[in-house]
């Protein structure tokens, strides 16, 4: 099969970008979309042209590095997979495929199809953790966790941090990403002590990064390669409301032990 690619090329964030058209050679339908880009890049290099920059790493749908909006959908036509798990057999011979970078103010473009998703790290650094020092925890079976809670926490914890939710959301909102981490930790007994400060800090970091708001369209859930549910956003909303009502916890009184 052969396809025609319309790819966004942009040298860096400072310069203007535009679409370029590339005709592929004959492809094996069992090739992944990224392998198809590899083939094009090899061709470009042979012709002395600069290859297309695109992000990728594990190529098995778990590292969250690959991105791309393929024909209007982050990670390509199929639900529940990442771009690296999208195969050429999903397209027809002769198709024109539009390939764009993830677009959001909070994801500034680096080059061609590569954007920076640092904002996600900043949000996690604000509160996406349970404070625990190596060496101090109790025995792993000391605290029982209901299987239902643990399973639900795992559903949320599967997030690969790819940013497709932001890319698909008409508001470029990061709610699904943030709520997945808030819910994962908030559902477990181990996450309770920091539950409300966590949600508050993470939401504030999210807002500061310039993401949009939630319009509950469900687009994020539809494109998520791990099919994470927007019910987690409701959970985050609830926790944040409780956090607001609780207010700031009292600062400890000054003075240390001698």
């Amino acid at each position: 099969m052969k396809v025609r690619l319309k790819v966004w090329r942009q040298k860096n964030s400072g310069s203007a970008g535009s679409f370029h058209i590339y005709e592929t050679p004959d492809l094996n339908p069992n090739m992944s979309f990224l392998e198809m880009l590899d083939v094009i890049n090899e061709q470009l290099a042979e012709r002395g042209q600069e290859p297309i920059a695109f992000d990728h790493d594990c190529r098995e749908g778990i590292c969250g590095t690959c991105s791309l909006v393929i024909d209007g959908k982050p990670h390509g036509p199929h639900p529940g997979v990442a771009t690296c798990q999208t195969y050429m057999r999903s397209f027809k011979d002769g198709d024109e495929i539009v390939v764009e970078p993830f677009r959001a103010k909070a994801f500034p473009l680096i080059k061609d199809l590569v954007v920076s998703r640092k904002a996600f790290d900043t949000i996690l650094q604000a509160g996406g953790f349970i404070t625990v020092r190596a060496g101090s925890p109790p025995d792993a079976n000391a605290i029982l966790v209901a299987k239902a809670d643990s399973d639900l926490a795992m559903d949320a914890a599967q997030c690969i941090g790819c940013g497709a939710c932001v890319a698909a959301c008409r508001n470029a909102s990061a709610m699904l990403f943030v709520s997945a981490k808030v819910s994962h930790l908030g559902l477990l007994p181990q996450g309770q002590p920091e539950r409300y400060t966590r949600v508050q800090n993470m939401v504030e970091a999210m807002d500061a990064a310039g993401f949009g708001n939630c319009s509950v369209t469900g687009a994020c859930e539809a494109v998520c390669p791990k099919s994470i549910s927007i019910d987690f956003i409701a959970r985050m909303n609830r926790d944040y409301a409780v956090a607001l009502l609780k207010g700031d916890s009292k600062k400890p009184a000054g003075g240390g032990a001698g």
Partner: protein
């Protein structure tokens, strides 16, 4: 010649770690904050080490070439993590985990290291659960376990088929917390290109920012490498495309010894190669072997569909050859057996390089729902890649490069022969011998990062004075900086005809053919010649587009491939010199035959690996001898105090 002092503490095996911790030098809390430590990599080992060192009070600088620490390839580990918790009451213990690991490694690992690993394994699970890792649980709320290859107890903790992901996100959350608190400075898109050695001690490194192309120098009191394995030397592997050996290779060129490079693990259950365009092989978790049965037809070149082959014409070869462990035989054994049946012409699929992994019996016994609950995501991955439904027809699998047991040589403190250079996780050689058991890589990465390095690092730091730390204007920094710049410039200016990818592909083929699942003298000699020739061609004919002052993926790849070519040659040298078979290193000349007494006693099968403990019970630590010169071989003898080296039998 390098001096290799293993620094294994004296005393009873089970007491060594406790004793060593007590005898280690300490740095007092007020002084810790004056020390600066560089950690390269943020996989399980790097992230956990960075977070824990910062918790202790050290100033930590963490470097990753990815856009975020969370992308490290530990994230792709599927099956689970071992720990000697004995929650199942099935007779597990620290000693049993230790023994299984030593035996699994074919008696080529360091005894004291492995025992320490088994000891801290229980703490790892506690730590991860406290961090919020959502391990699988039973209905009563207790943790669940599954069994894994090379063990007869269920000691593997898991989080669906994404255990590595959950453990890494746990470690990264600890790292994130410390970044937020200012204890760790996180450098992303930052690739280490050289180690800076000042007066024989590792004191810093040179880094290229992949986004801007900027070259920077970073000084510290100690440098920790946790940069993973070098399996991508084979080009096609289950590693991430970005996984590379550049950090350890550049350290090697600065004098760090590289130990046992020929010990590579070929994982038995991967999706077979389907075409020449392929960039990546995908693993199907070993946990599938709990419920799947591996078979091929008894006939050669049997073109029938699997369901057309009647039960009595199927050869469940692992169950036949290794009765006690059956489908759960260790990885090296399962992989070689698959190769053997395919070499006999009994392989399945279009290429004939594949065997069936069949779930029909489990589906009959447990029901499709139960199988779906256990392995649903793996079946889905299989379906995506092959377009086949494994609930209806058996999976086709074939071995693929998955892990490297070899790595930089380290002592008991995880310090290399360059003082101040520490190496953790897959990047070091220490714990798995010649073969790693399933679910032990995650255990080792976290053991090194959370518990071992934080306890042993102070031994070195206590001998160093932070006020004496040299600045990055020191001659050693300037020299390393200019070497890095020159080598980047050379690659950009060669303007040859071949892309880095094409060199990588060719290298991979040479190594897979001659230094893969089976090796022999003639093949290895040929491979050494071929890799040398490839290196020569590379220097004249590499083509890198673009320039160095910007995001340039071809330039990144070019540097990594150059290192792989040199490393590939060293692997072949190591494989050639090791005239025995052990674990993942199978030399065709050294195998059991039907007439050997061990075979006749029923301990092994003909074709099983045959060790030579008299000549090769040592760690082969290779030392760089300069450009164009053969590397020097250093030997660290493996002295076993408690365990007796025996024939490794899984029958």
């Amino acid at each position: 010649m390098a001096t290799l002092k293993s620094n294994i503490p004296s005393g009873q095996l089970a007491q060594k770690w406790t004793k060593h911790r007590f005898e280690s030098k300490l740095v007092n809390p007020a002084n810790k904050r004056k020390y600066k430590v560089i950690v390269v990599g943020a996989g399980l080992a790097g992230a956990s080490a960075s977070a824990t060192l910062a918790d202790l009070g050290y100033q930590v600088d963490n470097f990753v070439f990815h856009d975020s620490p969370r992308r490290a390839h530990s994230i792709a580990a599927q099956g689970g993590i071992n720990a000697a918790k004995n929650y199942q009451n099935d007779g597990d213990s620290v000693h049993r985990l230790f023994y299984d690991t030593i035996k699994g490694g074919d008696f080529r690992a360091r005894e004291a290291n492995v025992h320490r690993l088994a000891e801290v394994s229980v703490q790892i699970i506690d730590q991860c659960v406290a961090q919020g890792v959502p391990f699988a649980r039973e209905y009563g709320g207790l943790l669940d376990n599954r069994s894994f290859g090379g063990a007869q107890v269920s000691r593997t903790f898991y989080a669906r088929g994404q255990t590595g992901q959950q453990l890494l996100l746990g470690a990264c959350s600890a790292l994130s917390r410390q970044v937020g608190l200012g204890g760790v400075k996180s450098h992303t898109h930052a690739e280490m290109l050289d180690l800076v050695v000042v007066d024989g001690h590792a004191k810093g490194m040179i880094v290229r920012n992949l986004q801007t192309g900027e070259i920077t120098r970073h000084g510290a009191d100690a440098v920790v490498l946790a940069t993973g394995g070098y399996g991508n030397v084979f080009n096609l592997s289950t590693y991430a495309r970005g996984s590379n050996a550049t950090a350890i290779w550049r350290a090697y060129r600065r004098g760090a010894c590289l130990a046992n490079p020929c010990y590579t693990q070929i994982h038995p259950t991967c999706i077979p190669v389907s075409g020449d365009y392929q960039s990546k092989l995908t693993l199907m978790s070993e946990s599938l072997r709990n419920d799947g049965r591996i078979w091929v037809s008894k006939k050669q070149a049997d073109r029938r569909l699997p369901h057309e082959i009647p039960e009595e014409e199927r050869d469940y070869y692992l169950e036949r050859m290794y009765r006690a462990f059956g489908n759960l035989a260790p990885r090296d054994i399962a992989s070689r057996a698959a190769k053997q049946v395919c070499d006999e012409g009994r392989g399945v699929g279009e290429t004939g390089l594949g065997v069936y992994l069949d779930f029909s019996e489990s589906i009959r016994r447990l029901g499709e729902d139960k199988v779906r609950e256990r392995y649903g995501n793996l079946f889905a991955i299989y379906h995506e890649i092959t377009d086949e439904d494994a609930y209806k027809t058996p999976m086709r699998i074939y071995p693929a490069v998955h892990y490297t047991m070899g790595g930089l040589w380290v002592d008991y403190n995880l310090m290399s022969n360059i003082p101040g250079l520490f190496v953790l996780g897959e990047a070091n050689f220490s714990d798995h011998g010649a073969n790693r058991l399933g679910a032990s890589a995650l255990m080792q990465g976290l053991a090194d990062g959370y518990f071992v390095l934080p306890a042993t690092l102070s031994n070195y730091l206590a001998t160093q004075k932070p006020e004496n730390r040299v600045t990055i204007e020191h001659a050693a920094f300037r020299e390393a900086d200019s070497i890095v710049r020159q080598s980047l410039q050379r690659m950009l200016e060669t303007k040859g005809k071949r892309t880095p990818a094409s060199f990588h592909k060719e290298l991979g083929k040479i190594l897979w053919d001659h230094c893969g699942m089976a090796r022999n003298k003639a093949g290895l000699e040929k491979a050494i010649q071929k890799t040398a020739a490839l290196r020569e061609e590379y220097s004249k004919n590499i083509n890198v587009m673009g320039d160095g002052g910007e995001w340039n993926q071809a330039l990144e790849q070019a540097g990594r491939v150059a290192d792989f070519i040199e490393l590939g040659e060293l692997m072949c040298r190591d494989a050639l010199h090791r005239e025995e078979s052990c674990g993942g290193h199978f030399r065709e000349e050294f195998q059991y035959t039907a007439s050997d007494p061990e075979t006749q006693q029923g301990l092994v099968n003909p074709g099983d690996v045959r060790r030579d403990d008299e000549r090769f019970a040592y760690v082969a630590a290779w030392e760089y001898a300069g450009k164009g010169r053969a590397p020097t071989l250093n030997k660290e003898p493996l002295a076993y105090e408690e365990v007796h080296m025996t024939t490794r039998s899984y029958k």
